[in-house]
């Protein structure tokens, strides 16, 4: 199977993730959708790496994994803090600053 099919799959995953960010209400689920988008980018990188025959893309995928882990640390800390203060992780409830 040609590796370009993985790029199509990654584009699909990325779209699902982006739609999830826009549609879902729970901050944790929104965050999971963002992780899905990052992993879609990873799949794209690895597929193109295979196609081009150089390792840049695979190495980038490692970097992206590390960044995603760091983002989880920071993101979950912030979301848990919000949840403890409000007993809700819904992004719709966080609207103190709406005009």
């Amino acid at each position: 199977m040609s590796p370009i099919n993985y790029v199509y799959l990654a584009a699909l995953l990325f779209t699902i993730g982006a739609a999830g960010v826009l549609i879902r209400r729970n901050a944790i689920v929104v965050f999971m959708c963002i992780e899905l988008m990052l992993n879609a980018a990873n799949l794209t990188l690895v597929a193109f790496s295979r196609m081009h025959g150089n390792l840049d893309g695979q190495i980038m995928a490692f970097f992206v994994m590390v960044v995603a882990a760091a983002e989880v640390v920071v993101g979950l800390a912030i979301i848990v803090m919000l949840y403890r203060a409000r007993h809700s992780a819904s992004v719709d409830d966080a609207s103190l600053m709406k005009l």
Partner: protein, 565 residues
């Protein structure tokens, strides 16, 4: 990474069904006796960034091991010494000609150390020093149980209004973690405009964004607002960086490399492509156009351009005001530096495609920011919309696609960042019983109550509005001149109209401060320590000097205005 790439391409052409096999290649390469080249790192040229990140790591160690009482002094010393040493290193590099004739690509192609990089790194370091002053201010909050505290939460992990918070406040704790977070943010921002491949761009983006997300959540007062700002900033920031990353992946697929000059060569079609796979992907314009658009989108989010600006007012309002001031100034400097490099170095071959889009974005940003700012009633939100409008003016300079465009944007960034820092430092001083009094109605008659502070704030507002003899005028003039000469005359007309609209609400605040009666229960002006005073004084001095005698600094920006490729 280059060494590995060479290895891969050495035997990469052989493989089944046109797809080069990475597995056989590894064995073949080992058999051929090739060795991985050890990377050569130009430590001298990277020293500003290394000093800042080293000081940040030292700050983490201090926070882990030093006793609570000693932390504040030690952290402040490390931050200021680190930033000052890094600034000295930048000056040294610039003096030795690295900014002009000896500009080069460093760190195995990862970073470009050239004029714009050094100019922006110097600006960021000065912004960091002034930001650290406002972070360390301990005279504004009333002393909590006998110990002086700053504007950051006693213990961020505790629930607002809960038992844990009461105990932490009683014990007089402060969050000294803000100093290493500030340093990591400054370090990432210094890498951001220097990034010379898309991977470094993404990593630098995350390195400066993650500390900023945390800093937004740490306000001592109005913590619910602060936490809400952090969640919004984090979710939207991570969303936009995912777009940037996917764009990076598509551009890598298009060009087979993430190196800026490599992509630029492929885009311009300078090299003949022999590899059949590469010929296939470089023939696919969808990869290039979508990839480029997604990367630019990620950067436009960071500069706060319409339609990617929705986070700006909420985050600026909710974040602790010292953080807002630092973030408003420094993020814009770093992100415009990266945007300039991307558009001028990587995608000049695509400028007939991106210029019309950026025209639209610039017009929307200038008009959108200026018009919506008129309806604002909170001073921090007002400054947030004003920063959106300024992002639009800066985009006009970016669109010029000329050397003047680069240097005028550099000058504008330097001028704008000090005005912003000073303005937000003033906002921290106007207080009532509930903390900072940010509602505009509270600012009525401030000129009668505290003429000096109101006058200083009026200077900043006039600079924002671009009145002559302030740095705002010099910056705006340079940017609009470059845009007009670059063939964007209509954009300049829109920019002038947006400036006029913006001037209305800046002047409205001045009128409110000086020509209306003070409220009986109005706010008082806190007397700051020498740190906030010097932050505001520096803002005024830079604003006036760059307004009255801008030529030296325009020349400096002009000399710095060439990207190395």
């Amino acid at each position: 990474m280059t060494g590995i790439t060479d290895l891969a391409s050495a035997g990469g052409a052989s493989g089944a069904s046109g797809v080069p096999s990475l597995w056989t290649l590894a064995a073949g390469a080992a058999g051929a006796g090739d060795k991985l080249q050890a990377p050569s790192i130009e430590y001298g040229k990277l020293s500003p960034v290394l000093i800042v990140l080293g000081a940040a790591a030292l700050g983490v160690v201090i926070d882990a091991f030093a006793p609570r009482k000693a932390r504040y002094g030690a952290q402040l010393f490390v931050v200021l010494a680190g930033l000052a040493a890094a600034f000295a290193a930048v000056i040294g590099l610039a003096a030795s000609g690295v900014g002009s004739s000896k500009a080069q690509i460093a760190g195995m192609g990862a970073l470009a150390i050239d004029g714009p990089t050094l100019f922006l790194q110097g600006t960021l370091l000065l912004v960091g020093i002034v930001g650290a002053f406002t972070f360390a201010e301990r005279r504004l909050e009333p002393a909590a149980h006998g110990s002086r505290v700053d504007s950051f939460a006693a213990q961020p992990a505790s629930v607002p209004g809960g038992e844990g918070e009461r105990e932490a406040v009683k014990a007089g704790w402060t969050t000294t973690e803000v100093f290493p977070l500030l340093m990591f943010a400054v370090g990432g921002m210094m890498l951001f405009p220097a990034a010379n491949d898309l991977l470094t761009l993404f990593i630098a983006l995350e390195v400066f964004s993650l500390p900023l997300y945390l800093l937004c959540a740490l306000a001592r007062r109005r913590r619910l607002l602060s936490q809400e700002a952090a969640v919004k900033y984090f979710l939207l920031g991570a969303f936009s960086s995912a777009f940037l990353l996917f764009g990076t992946a598509l551009l890598y697929g298009y060009a087979g490399t993430v190196n800026y000059s490599g992509i630029a060569r492929v885009v311009s079609g300078a090299d003949a492509v022999s590899d059949p796979v590469l010929a296939d992907t470089t023939g696919n314009d969808a990869l290039l156009l979508i990839g480029g658009a997604l990367v630019v989108m990620g950067l436009l989010f960071k500069v706060g351009a319409v339609p990617f600006h929705m986070w700006t007012p909420d985050v600026y309002q909710g974040a602790p005001t010292p953080v807002t001031g630092f973030m408003a100034a420094a993020t814009k400097v770093a992100a415009f530096g990266a945007l300039l490099r991307l558009l001028y170095v990587v995608l000049p071959g695509l400028r007939w495609d991106w210029r019309p889009v950026m025209w639209g974005v610039a017009i929307l940003t200038m008009l959108g920011g200026a018009v919506v700012a008129i309806t604002q009633t909170d001073i921090k939100r007002l400054l947030a919309y004003s920063s959106i409008a300024h992002a639009g003016f800066l985009l006009a300079g970016v669109i010029a696609t000329s050397e003047d465009g680069i240097s005028s944007v550099l000058f504008y960034l330097g001028a704008y960042s000090f005005v912003t820092l000073g303005a937000f430092a003033v906002v921290t001083l106007v207080r009532d019983a509930g903390g900072e009094a940010t509602h505009l109605s509270k600012w009525a008659g401030l000129g009668r109550r505290s003429p000096l502070l109101a006058a200083v704030f009026a200077v900043f507002l006039l600079a924002f509005a671009g009145i002559p003899l302030t740095s705002g005028f010099a910056g705006k003039f340079a940017v609009f001149k470059a845009a007009a000469e670059g063939g964007a005359g209509a954009l300049v007309v829109v920019g002038v109209i947006a400036s006029a609209i913006a001037a209305f609400f800046y002047l409205r605040v001045i009128v409110l401060m000086f020509f209306s009666e003070p409220q009986a229960d109005g706010p008082s002006v806190a007397v700051p320590s020498v740190m906030t005073t010097s932050a505001i004084a520096l803002g005024v001095v830079v604003t006036v000097v760059l307004g009255v005698a801008p030529q030296y600094f325009l020349d400096l920006a002009g000399q710095a205005g060439v990207f190395v490729r």
